[in-house]
Structures are given as structure tokens and as C-alpha cells.
């Protein structure tokens, strides 16, 4: 037989993302708002792209990487067989999901609050929060990672936080620049969710009401248990 296709579920990763909008309290013009963007590290997945403040939620990432490293110690030239054996052990054990730091939106908001504090000096307890709401979750497939972005939207009164100079790594950019920035596709879905939310908010004049027009591209398998927890894998 000519080809092999060993079916494997991609590695699951989850990530909390927060779209922070800084809005002059006395402005009705949505174009006066600024959004917080951070640059990704220069190496690794999506290197150098801009993204919203994000926290990886998978604790075991580090452990996993370590074991992967152990498996390729020699620097010998190998064939182009770029197998992904590294992940097979997880597969076999029947638990393809890594351990999560936060299971629900409350926990995620707490983690994100700390992250904004330590990384950007934004103290949510002392600043004036105009709105904070979940946008939903967006799933993005990379070559061997299935990444779930849990998006929230945070609107802060611009007068209640200190102005910080833009740097190479952190910037506050306008709504129009947002549309042009080099942001990973996965997060662009988040922008869309936020824009819908904003539209609704603006039109309806009532906040935290049931949203409409927000078409979330939800993963249909989200929230569904894994079949492997019910059925046994047969020995071959």
C-alpha cells in the first residue's frame, strides 16, 4: 500500500484573550478609542505579529516541551520524515487535552486581570471599567495545534488610566489601524465579535442585553465530551 495515514487529534491549547479599548469618556466618536496591542516574541509560532493581551491557559505546555526535546538529542541529518511522534504518548493515554488553568470565564477574568496588572500596569480595581463582557470562543487550527481563544472585551475610561508611551512591543492603536495591523487570523475573528458588540451597543443604547448579529464561529465539538472516555480502544 502506498501511503500511511495515522489519524491523530491535534494538540488542544486554550488561551485567554482580552481586547482592551481605551475610550475618552466624553467622546461619542468610536474613532477616538484606542486598542492595546502587544508584539509576539521574535521566535516561535506567529513570531513578530501583533496580538491582543493574551494568557496561555495550558499549564503542561512546559513539561510537554521538555519531553519533546529529550527525544531528539542528536543533531544528525534525518530524512524529511517530519513525523510528530512527540505527541503520540498523549494520544495513546486517551487524554488529548492538557491540564487547564481556568475552566470558566470567572477564572479567566481573574487570570487576565493579573496579567494586565503585571504586564501593562493596568489595575482594573482602580480604573473605571465601562464594560466588560465575554465575546465567545474562537477556534483556530494550526498545523498540529487546535487553539481555542476565549475572547473577552474590556472597555476602560481613557481618563482613568495613565497614558503610556507606545513602544516597540506595546502600542495603543486606533480602530482604523486595527483593521490594517498584522494580527493573526484567529484574533481577527475576535475583532469582528467586538465590532458586532459595539454596533449593537451603539444602536440599542442598552448594554449587557442579549446581543444580536454576533455570529460566533463556534467549534461544534466545544463542550462535548470525548468519545474515548466512553469507548475502549481495542488492542490491535
Amino acid at each position: 500500500y502506498p501511503r500511511k495515514a495515522v489519524k491523530k487529534a491535534p494538540r488542544e491549547e486554550e488561551c485567554a484573550v482580552c481586547i482592551v479599548e481605551k475610550k475618552p469618556a466624553d467622546s461619542k466618536n468610536p474613532l477616538d478609542s484606542k486598542f492595546l496591542l502587544v508584539k509576539r516574541p521574535k521566535t516561535g509560532l506567529l513570531a513578530g505579529l501583533w496580538e491582543f493581551p493574551s494568557v496561555e491557559l495550558n499549564e503542561t505546555c512546559v513539561a510537554e516541551k521538555k519531553s519533546a526535546k529529550k527525544r531528539k538529542p542528536s543533531k544528525a541529518v534525518v530524512s524529511s520524515d517530519d513525523s510528530e511522534d512527540d505527541y503520540v504518548p498523549e494520544q495513546k493515554s486517551g487524554s488529548p487535552t492538557l491540564k487547564l488553568l481556568a475552566k470558566d470565564s470567572d477564572e479567566r477574568q481573574a487570570i487576565m486581570g493579573k496579567h494586565l496588572m503585571t504586564t501593562f500596569d493596568i489595575d482594573l480595581d482602580s480604573c473605571n471599567i465601562l464594560r466588560r463582557t465575554e465575546l465567545g470562543s474562537v477556534v483556530h487550527l494550526f498545523s498540529h495545534i487546535r487553539k481555542t481563544y476565549h475572547m473577552e472585551y474590556l472597555e476602560i475610561d481613557a481618563d482613568s488610566i495613565d497614558d503610556v508611551e507606545d513602544t516597540d512591543q506595546v502600542q495603543w492603536i486606533s480602530r482604523d489601524e486595527l483593521a490594517l495591523a498584522a494580527i493573526p487570523t484567529g484574533l481577527k475573528k475576535g475583532i469582528k465579535l467586538m465590532e458586532n458588540l459595539a454596533t449593537v451597543g451603539a444602536e440599542k443604547k442598552i448594554k449587557s442585553t442579549p446581543r444580536k448579529k454576533v455570529k460566533i464561529e463556534k467549534d461544534p465539538a466545544a463542550g462535548t465530551r470525548n468519545l474515548l472516555s466512553f469507548f475502549q480502544q481495542k488492542p490491535k
Binding site: A5, K7, G223, L227, F231
Partner: protein, 259 residues
């Protein structure tokens, strides 16, 4: 060696339509009792199991176990070239690397021969335990399809409640809420339309509508569908093929209050 002749290509065409969105590549396991397939979707929440018994073919020959690793998208391309009423013959050699499909039209002198490349697929077989379900609902497959489609308009998941009086499908979303109730009605005139419920115990389970809607691609295969449910156990959705076998789908339930 496999040689299996089917009087109507339509059956295999419809079967492919019923499973190709869920599974892209899998083994057709052929042996003397027939052709079977078992595969999970990529997210590992749904499973499809297919059986075509040997006596549905005429003739049927398969001396020893022969797994045929197939790309279903490619197989479907070739099956689209068969007329619904063509006679279809599957052939494969034991050591070969192709599946041969021959379509013969009944009314004119046309013969089509296609060779599909095989793949070596390392499939994982799951043991599905025998379960005595708390609720087994027999209903019209078209009605089930309609219900899944309708609720998809407003919701991403469906809660199924089966009681002795009937079965209720409900969902909720941004737009509002909706529910569809079918009453048990064993005595209706139209046998295909009847809803019958075998109940040990009431059940209430929530599932992803997208997957259920996917399963209903099998609707053309049978006028009836059976939903077998127990709380906290995967749903079994079964379409029986007349005298030939079945397509079964399993779907894990949703967890907790999230939908």
C-alpha cells in the same frame, strides 16, 4: 481478494454522502461476512459505524480479511460517475494497491472502469460496549432531519427529553428559545410517520446540533431512524438499510450547563 456486486450503485453513493463529511479517510474492512467501517471524526466526539452484509451483494466473494484504506473524498468523486441504476462491482486483489470499481448501465452498452488508489491507514478500533438504553425512539428520518435543521436556525445545541408521552427537542440562542414536541403515536395510518418510544426511564441529554445535522445526511438511506439514549452515555443514531446492514452514529453528550 474481494469481488462484490451491487444491483444499484445508488446505495453506495448515498452511503458515501452519509459519512464523507464526518470522516475523510478510513478503512473498509472486508471479510467473508461483509464490509464494515468504523471511524471517529477529528474532534473525537462522534463515531460512525457502517455494516454491509455479504448477502446484500450478488455475488460476494472475500476469502480473507482485507482492509481497504480509502480516501472518501476521492471515492466519492468516482462514485459520482456512476448512474443511480448502474450495476456496481467492487474488486480488489489481496496484495494490490487499488480498488477497482466497475459501473455497468442496464439499458445501453456502456461500461465504466475506475481504479482508485488505496492507502495504508492505521485505524484505531474502538470497542463499543453493549448498552441497554433507557429510551429508544423510533421516528421518521425526514422529521428528524427537519427538526435538526429548524433548531439550527436558533441554537447550537439541542436538549432531547424523552418521556413516555413523547420526545421533546429544545434549543436556545440569541434570537430566542424554541422547542419541538413529537407525541408518541403508535397508531397513525402512515407507518413511516409514526413516533414510537420504548422507555425504561426518562432521559434528558444535550448534543451539538451541527453533528446531529451531519448524521441526517443518511436520511435518503432509510425512511426511519432510531435514537437510543441513556443519561451520560453517547447517543446512538441508527439508519437501517433494507436487508443489507446499517449506518450507526454515536455522539458524546455535552457537558454541564454550557451550550
Amino acid at each position: 481478494m474481494l469481488e462484490a456486486r451491487l444491483q444499484q450503485a445508488k446505495l453506495l453513493k448515498s452511503l458515501l454522502e452519509a459519512i464523507k463529511e464526518l470522516v475523510t479517510e478510513c478503512n473498509f474492512d472486508c471479510n467473508d461476512s461483509g464490509i464494515a467501517l468504523q471511524a471517529m471524526d477529528n474532534s473525537h466526539v462522534a463515531l460512525v459505524a457502517l455494516l454491509l452484509r455479504s448477502d446484500g451483494f450478488d455475488p460476494y466473494r472475500c476469502d480473507r480479511n482485507l482492509p481497504l484504506g480509502l480516501n472518501l473524498t476521492n471515492l466519492n468523486k468516482i462514485l459520482k460517475c456512476a448512474g443511480n441504476d448502474d450495476i456496481l462491482t467492487l474488486k480488489a486483489d489481496d496484495g494490490g494497491d487499488t480498488l477497482s470499481l466497475v459501473f455497468e448501465s442496464k439499458d445501453n452498452d456502456k461500461i465504466c472502469e475506475y481504479d482508485l488508489k488505496l492507502m495504508d491507514i492505521d485505524s484505531e478500533h474502538l470497542g463499543i460496549p453493549d448498552t441497554s438504553y433507557d429510551a429508544i425512539v423510533h421516528m421518521s428520518s425526514a422529521e428528524f432531519q427537519r427538526i435538526c435543521r429548524d433548531l439550527s436556525q436558533i441554537s447550537e445545541s439541542v436538549k432531547i427529553d424523552a418521556t413516555k408521552d413523547g420526545i421533546k427537542f429544545s434549543g436556545e440562542g440569541e434570537v430566542g428559545n424554541g422547542s419541538i414536541t413529537l407525541k408518541q403515536n403508535a397508531n397513525v395510518d402512515n407507518e413511516d410517520e409514526a413516533t414510537r418510544i420504548e422507555l425504561q426511564q426518562s432521559v434528558s441529554l444535550t448534543f451539538s446540533l451541527k453533528y446531529l445535522a451531519n448524521f441526517t445526511k443518511a436520511t435518503p438511506l432509510s425512511t426511519r431512524v432510531t435514537l437510543s439514549m441513556s443519561n451520560d452515555v453517547p447517543l446512538l443514531v441508527e439508519y437501517k438499510l433494507d436487508n443489507l446492514g446499517y449506518v450507526r452514529y454515536y455522539l458524546a453528550p455535552k457537558i454541564g450547563e454550557e451550550n
